[in-house]
Subunit: 370 residues, 2 copies
DNA sequence: CTGAAAGCGCTTACAG
DNA sequence: CTGAAAGCGCTTACAG
């Protein structure tokens, strides 16, 4: 391999020595200051929309900046201002679509009002005993202005401790425990599960089964509560063997369905605590020639991308992941802008509204009720 | 709102004035130099694994760095070294799973051998006439060491021009045109489509339909070529009305299927140029009571996450998106490390191997051939 | 309302 | 093999 000349060098400012025009996007604050005939401090003020600049001066600087296509160098700003304009998104979520939605939500907020922030996505798929070290190292090299944590990572004590030790602002999405330890953004999983269960009941179903999520997942427990509340409200008591435990995987949905649909006395509707398990139920139903929704109604929870891919399309509850991440980033930016103290941030708990059930094709009235 | 004290300040080095120990992760190169009793330049050499340091000195510095939990500040390194340790991923892809896989692939490479690189994801969902400006602004604020472009964005001339003007290294994933303009990483779409078509033929199918991708999509054209090559090889000529045009959307797959499955003379197998359209075919088949694979075999292309969610699970061709993005990042890092020149990078064209067809349940022998 | 000076935490270029 | 000096492009803290 022929080692080429290293790609970068101190030559970027060569234009200055030669009295030339900087190439587009390569202008620095000094170029602008010289062109506008002011100090770099004044240029800095204008670029940051600070007060105490005469309108005339401001216009002059703006003009110069425009002519040179000047964009402040984020790296330099970061170093001088002790803030990185970077937010971290730490995740270990098995659901790519969930993480991606979080990322897009956070990015959307960072792009608002030219806030100049960016998001660094950090997959943390390491063994539990290496988690703390991985987080610490990540936070030490890149001095983030804040981090967003997604489940299930957000409930790992090692992670929280590493973040606290680094003194980095933190917002968690849908956390389960240690609720007073960081700010959080969440939705009302119980009310949402209640809504979708009620939708099943309103269609005429009385024999409704539920496939629960994993025991260590907070939202799963809340969804169970919501389900039971809706049932109770309708004077219904779920058949004990129609409450099955899953782990949010498609396979666990299949396993539960084999039992639920295997006996002679079958439920007319199934509420799966997430879409993935609902897809498992759907597969078993297809295999057994059980028609959805004619023979069996099926509801999920998440409104994941797969919900419109399967047949019939899945009736489910939309989890506002994008909005939650957007809000999480919003809180972090407020803190970074000095609009609240670290303690004020820590105390924040934002509940994001969710839309009503997304009614698609997998739920209908039970046979006999048309 | 009570404006709190701004979160950051010049106080981070307070420990030094007070002769104290810096808090974990807060140590600077100066702290390490003082503790090891060497100059900061020597610390820098050790941290960057540069030669010309006595073993004894090196050990001493390593020890000090370890004791202080020192991690070089990426921002400072960037500014001084004129490289950002940041790679951009520019995308406008409607497929979240595709983009996410790219991102994870690039990140995976950036995490190898402590390369200290990170990935910045930049969604560019702006109107065509604003694309150039958006790219230019993005590249000017964050001086990236390189960018990765995904389709269909990677084929927009405005984007390429903005990147060239900024002088940023670039690798495109699966580009279509201007092939000599940047480095690229791709797979052999034609050979892959040939493989999966052959799989259909080997099962005994002769009446095979294809749903093409959009006209302006390079890979789509290659997949068509591969399909036709496999058919020709088997002495088969596709029925003209069994070549339908789609646009990669589920809806377009549905539309094509309505026609393909609506007539009396139906194909026994359908090859959809991507999974999404295959899902559309599947929905129509279900609606019409056409059993897959008994009455109709169906193959997709991509191996997207949905392929295992639907029923029956989709036989498809795995697109090595993760690997392609990994390689793209790898090329960029090589360039950033001075292992090749800008011109050498531009000339690179890397073909990534793909596995054979992912055989699942949606393809079987045609009726009568068992 | 404006600017000169110092500094953020590193690397580069150079000298010895 | 090692270090003193200058500089990356900005912001902070202060003075006027």
């Amino acid at each position: 391999m022929t080692p080429g000349k290293p790609p970068y060098g101190r030559s970027a400012k060569g234009h200055r020595d030669r009295g030339e025009f900087p190439s587009p996007g390569a202008a620095t604050i000094n170029d602008v200051a010289r062109l506008a005939d002011v100090s770099i401090k004044t240029v800095s003020r204008v670029m940051n929309n600070e007060p105490n600049v005469r309108d005339e001066t401001r216009a002059k600087v703006r003009e110069a900046a425009k002519r040179l296509q000047y964009q402040p160098n984020l790296l330099a700003r970061s170093l001088a201002g002790s803030r990185s304009f970077l937010i971290g998104l730490l995740h270990d979520n098995p659901s790519a679509s969930y993480v991606f939605a979080c990322e897009m939500g956070a990015i959307a907020r960072c792009k608002e009002n030219h806030s100049r922030y960016h998001v660094l996505s950090e997959p943390l798929n390491v063994r539990g005993d290496q988690l703390r070290g991985a987080v610490t190292e990540f936070l030490a090299t890149v001095r983030l202005d804040g981090v967003i944590l997604t489940p299930p990572l957000c409930d790992k004590v090692d992670v929280l401790e590493a973040i606290e030790a680094a003194g980095v602002a933190c917002v968690r999405i849908a956390p389960w425990g240690s609720l007073d330890r960081t700010a959080r953004v969440h939705m009302d999983d119980a009310a949402a599960a209640e809504d979708i269960t009620r939708h099943l009941i309103n269609q005429g179903h009385r024999d409704i089964a539920i496939i629960l999520g994993p025991l260590d997942h907070g939202a799963a427990a809340l969804r169970e509560q919501g389900f039971l509340a809706a049932m109770r409200e309708a004077g219904l008591e779920p058949h004990p063997s129609w409450i099955r435990r899953g782990d949010f995987s498609l396979e666990s949905g299949r396993a539960a369905a084999e039992i639920l649909l295997g006996g002679s006395h079958r439920p007319t509707a199934v509420f799966a605590s997430n879409d993935e398990m609902a897809f498992g139920v759907m597969a078993v139903a297809h295999e057994r020639g059980i028609s959805i929704p004619d023979d069996l109604s099926l509801a999920g929870f998440d409104d994941s991308p797969g919900a419109v891919l399967v047949w019939p399309q899945l009736t489910t509850l939309h989890q506002p992941v994008h909005e939650m991440a957007f809000k999480a980033a919003d809180l972090l930016l407020s803190r970074a802008n000095g609009e609240m103290t670290a303690d004020e941030l820590r105390g924040r708990s934002e509940k994001i509204a969710y839309p009503g059930p997304v009614v698609r094709a997998s739920v209908g009235p039970p046979r006999g009720i048309a």
